[in-house]
Structure formats: structure tokens, C-alpha cells
């Protein structure tokens, strides 16, 4: 169950902040892929 505190932190504040989302370049912080292997 979600607590009232979680609700405020997760939805209200986050929702408003994320509405102000800015445009960014892809690849700035790449994430390691999940399915791959080295073939050396």
C-alpha cells in the first residue's frame, strides 16, 4: 500500500516537476543493455 507521504512525493510534486520536462540529447547517459555478449 502506498502511504500518504509516498503519494505526495511520487505523484503531485513529481507530476508537476515532470511537466516542466526539458528536451535533451539522447545518449548523454547511456544505459548498459540487458541482452548481449562479448564475442572475442
Amino acid at each position: 500500500m502506498m502511504t500518504r507521504r509516498e503519494f505526495f512525493r511520487f505523484f503531485i510534486i513529481g507530476g508537476i516537476l515532470s511537466l516542466l520536462g526539458k528536451k535533451v540529447n539522447a545518449g548523454q547517459k547511456p544505459k548498459e543493455a540487458m541482452f548481449w555478449r562479448r564475442i572475442d
Binding site: S18, G21, K23, G27, K29, M34, W36, I39
Partner: protein, 324 residues
């Protein structure tokens, strides 16, 4: 030391030297490690009716928070979103929207589901997977519209968090997949079976393209395959083609072709056969038993819904789907 890697996500199985980008444009080998370049960086973010995906048997009348990043595993000559699917992530305008923010926004906009769509969600697998886990925690459903061109292992892993999938079955010949999409049919058929086995709610979309995949003999074969391997309850959407991207030489699909395709599928034994991208009674859902209209749609909008607790309101026949 050589730093070559191989991606094991989709059947393209890209082998990449250090510094090389993948065929889908969304991955790169950096110093012997394969990276996703689009994690948390969607180029398309919208709130859509779920009917637009299209899902007709999944929470009708609700909205889906919809995201996509640049890139695709295929290169279909008729792609309707080619500006982003065939683009490099560096060339699109991207938002900074990590998985927890996607879920937050979905809740903020009162969406019952998140849909991974527009381009090919396989290219942003890690982003989709992490978002789906968080969404599940907050009782938001996950759906995807995919070409199904993905390997079995990652698909099974993803299926644990995916509530519904609409898979593009673009045609029923290897020749079409090779020539028009630079892919192959077999892995797509395998994905359909895997999704069914994993209990993911499944719908199929087939874009009917004049002269390329509108041969009724092949349509019949495709429907027989669906019936045998997935059952008669899987909804299939025959969509109208409009000239796009590299196929501007062909006309839009005539209504007669779409109605013939629909009849062929129904005669083959499929119970829920729809026509899309055109106003027609084939947009509506009918009870397979009493034949009364269950869901009346106008484009993406639901005008009336006569399904109650998953059953026909007139004759109580159970209607397959996810209704609440």
C-alpha cells in the same frame, strides 16, 4: 584486446565493433560494452485513447500514456512513423523522462495504462522493462504495439510485466518480410505463440497494402494459422493503407478489399475481425452468439458499450478481453 559484442535482443543479432552503432540506431558498442542510447529519452510522449493502439478488447474508453524513442529493428517501406523510427536518437527531439516519471505522468493524466508504441519498443527494451515494473507496482497496466521482431528470451522476461500486446503481422510470406521490411516472418509468428503462452492479452494488426499483401488465398492461410495456433478469440485489425515513406506509388486500400479481407477472416473462423483507418461498421464489436452490437465506436471513441462484467448484456455470452 578485441572489443566486439553481439546484441541478443532481436533476430538481427548485430555484431558490433568498438564504437559502432547498431542497425536499429538505438544501441552502441562503447569499449566492449553494449549500451542503449535511448534509455529515459523518449522522442514521442502522448496521451491517446487505447483504441488508437489499436486495442479493442482491452479497457475500452480509457486513455493510455504512450511513449516511444527513436529507432526500429525493421525498415518497412510503408512505415507511418518513419520520421522517428528510421531516425538516429541524436537527430530527434527527446524528453528527459526516466521510468518513474513516466509512471508519475501516467497517473497525473489519469491513464489506466502505459503503451510502448509508435516506433518499435524492442529498441528501448531496458527503458520499457524498468518502466513496466514500476507501473505494475502502482496498478497501471502495460501494453505494447510491436512488430514482434524480438528473441524469445527477452520476450518471455518482458511478458511477466506486460498486460497486452498488439502485434503487427505485416503479411504471411517470408518474401514480403524480406523485400518490404528487411526482416523475416518466422520470428514474428514465434513471438505471437510466446505471448499467448505467457498469458499476455493479444491483438493482431495487419495493414492491407494493395498488390503487396492483399491476396485472399494468403490472407486465408494467415487466418487459419491464427486459428490453429492462437485460437478464434484473438481480435484482428485489418488496417487501411495510405501512401507513406517509400510506398507513395500505391493507392490507399479500397474499402472493398478491406471488407473482403474481413469476410475471409470471419469465414476462416475468427470471431473478432475489425477494419481500421476507415469509418465502417467493422469498427464495432458484435456478440459472436446473438450478433447484437456490443461496442459501438466512432474512430477511436467509444459511443456505447454493452459489455457488462465481461459478458454480452443481451445474451450473457463471455466476451474475451480485459474489461476492468
Amino acid at each position: 584486446m578485441a572489443k566486439t559484442v553481439q546484441c541478443e535482443l532481436c533476430p538481427n543479432a548485430c555484431v558490433l565493433e568498438n564504437g559502432q552503432h547498431s542497425r536499429c540506431r538505438a544501441r552502441m558498442n562503447k569499449d566492449g560494452v553494449l549500451y542503449s542510447l535511448v534509455y529515459g529519452k523518449p522522442c514521442a510522449v502522448h496521451v491517446d485513447p487505447i483504441e488508437k493502439k489499436p486495442f479493442f478488447h482491452f479497457l475500452p474508453g480509457t486513455t493510455a500514456f504512450s511513449i516511444a524513442t527513436a529507432g526500429c529493428v525493421l525498415s518497412c517501406k510503408f512505415c507511418q512513423n518513419w520520421q522517428i523510427s528510421q531516425a538516429r536518437p541524436e537527430d530527434t527531439d527527446n524528453y528527459d523522462l526516466p521510468p518513474d516519471n513516466v509512471v508519475r505522468q501516467a497517473i497525473f493524466y489519469d491513464c489506466r495504462s502505459i503503451t510502448y508504441t509508435y516506433t518499435e519498443p524492442t529498441v528501448f527494451y531496458e527503458y520499457m522493462y524498468d518502466t513496466a515494473i514500476i507501473a505494475k507496482k502502482y496498478k497501471i497496466k502495460n501494453t505494447m504495439h510491436s512488430c514482434g521482431y524480438i528473441k524469445e528470451k527477452p520476450l518471455r522476461k518482458l511478458s511477466k510485466y506486460m498486460d497486452a500486446a498488439d502485434i503487427d503481422l505485416k503479411a504471411f510470406t517470408e518474401d514480403f518480410y524480406n523485400r518490404i521490411c528487411s526482416g523475416s516472418l518466422k520470428p514474428v509468428l514465434n513471438s505471437l505463440v510466446v505471448l499467448k503462452e505467457e498469458g499476455v492479452w493479444l491483438e493482431i494488426t495487419n495493414l492491407v497494402i494493395p498488390t503487396l499483401n492483399d491476396d485472399m488465398k494468403t490472407v486465408k492461410e494467415m487466418c487459419k494459422w491464427i486459428l490453429k495456433n492462437l485460437g478464434p478469440d484473438v481480435p484482428i485489425h485489418f488496417s487501411r493503407f495510405f501512401p507513406h515513406y517509400k510506398l507513395t506509388n500505391l493507392p490507399p486500400t479500397p474499402l472493398e478489399t478491406l471488407t473482403e479481407t474481413r469476410k475471409t477472416a470471419m469465414d476462416a473462423g475468427l470471431k473478432f475481425v475489425y477494419i481500421g483507418n476507415i469509418r465502417h461498421e467493422g469498427e464495432n464489436t458484435f456478440c459472436p452468439k446473438c450478433k447484437k452490437m456490443l461496442i459501438e465506436r466512432i474512430g477511436y471513441f467509444v459511443k456505447q458499450n454493452n459489455i457488462s462484467n465481461g459478458k454480452c448484456r443481451f445474451c450473457s455470452t463471455s466476451i474475451p478481453g480485459v474489461w476492468s
